[in-house]
Symmetry: none
DNA sequence: TTGCGTACTGTATATAATTACAGTATATAA
DNA sequence: TTATATACTGTAATTATATACAGTACGCAA
């Protein structure tokens, strides 16, 4: 990750502040006025370089087309990966297809470096099938997107357009999805039905409410 | 808080999704195209009403001047307040004064409505003293700022400039801070030492990494 | 029925904002 | 020295976008 020059940092900082404060990104002219540039081409030059270094994305031809991709916090050198924004794309065990055409309802932001590298998304948990490992209704499960998981790992699995969070075991002839709650039976999927299931990812984190504690 | 009509809700939803996805709010025309409106004045009418109901703010004369003020989730009637950004202001049980002049190291963003109303901050947990209730090193404890807690609640307590997370019990002559781990002894504070302790808040949530699961 | 708010269409105009082209100045590395 | 990248100025053209005005249609409450 290349570093910004101090001028670029100032411009980038102004863009993020404007976007957060006003709700809309600034125009080139607004940036120019802020920094007393006589020509907006000074701004264009800056934007080009800031974008090249990956901090923003510029949408050509679109007004205010400056999309902030990183936060200033993520510039700390000791942090390798960053994923502030984790989209919450639905409820798990609540009947809705995932991934395809997913529009995020809301977002979660975790501290830089809290999770490892990878693609993450989040699902709100409904049901008690994993209560023995302290995952309960209302919690938000953070899932690392991966298409396989190791035996025994907790995975978000999609079966028949429903997403469920289960402990995953693959045997030679079947897949077993085990609950962490004796009230819920294990789900056994014979090899012939593999085409109906899909692994969405692996449980990577959990956001819990502590109302009782 | 007035409710949106279903059409308005659709338009509002499109605006929030566009803003989150593209990083910039949509233009009137982009909205019109999305909903197959032949005239952007249909959009203008919608925006006027959505803004009137407080969901967005329209910046007149500015392109893409649609600022989202609420999230769709906050429309659930049972949710009163929202607080996306929770500052992480230090480590708990790690010797550092809290609250005064606290500069946040990083921020946490939880879904709107996930927590109740109140002032929140977060602390990174070090140590295993609460492992029995699944709070472990590296987790991030979300604390609701309050100066008293009820008996038995888990509280962030400051003693001698160190913050600790303990189960709080107040008796007539003493305060006991109990760990949720038999390896750690309870801390007993006699009435005469009350001036040395302070309640920072009550445990409200927990963000956990699930590396093992 | 009348009136009112929501939900649109259509066209024309004004202005907001980006792009293009042609430069200058100042560092810093080869 | 000669590049090469950053950091700007200036003007003109073009396109993107919002606004203004004039309507139509429908449901709903008085």
């Amino acid at each position: 990750m290349e570093n910004l020059t101090s001028k670029q940092k100032n411009v980038f900082s102004y863009i993020t502040k404007h976007t957060n404060k006003e709700g809309i990104p600034p125009t080139l002219d607004e940036i120019a006025v802020n920094f007393n540039y006589k020509s907006i081409n000074a701004v264009r030059d800056h934007l080009r370089l800031i974008a090249k270094k990956g901090y923003i994305k510029v949408h050509p031809g679109k007004s205010r087309g400056i999309q902030v991709l990183k936060s200033l916090n993520s510039m700390r050198p000791e942090q390798l990966s960053c994923h502030d924004q984790i989209p919450i794309i639905g409820k798990i065990a609540a009947g809705a297809p995932i991934f395809v055409n997913q529009e995020a309802e809301d977002h979660l932001k975790v501290p830089t470096g809290f999770l490892g590298s990878g693609e993450y998304f989040a699902l709100q948990v409904t049901g008690d099938s994993m209560k023995n490992i302290n995952i309960n209704t209302g919690d938000i499960a953070i899932i690392r997107h991966q298409i396989t998981v190791d035996n025994g790992e907790v995975a978000a699995v999609i079966l028949e357009n429903e997403a469920t969070l289960k402990r995953f075991f693959k045997f030679t002839d079947r897949v077993e999805l085990q609950s962490e709650n004796p009230d819920f039976p294990d789900i056994v999927i014979p090899k012939s039905d593999y085409s109906h299931i899909r692994i969405a990812g692996k449980l990577a984190g959990l956001l819990t409410r502590k109302i009782d504690a």
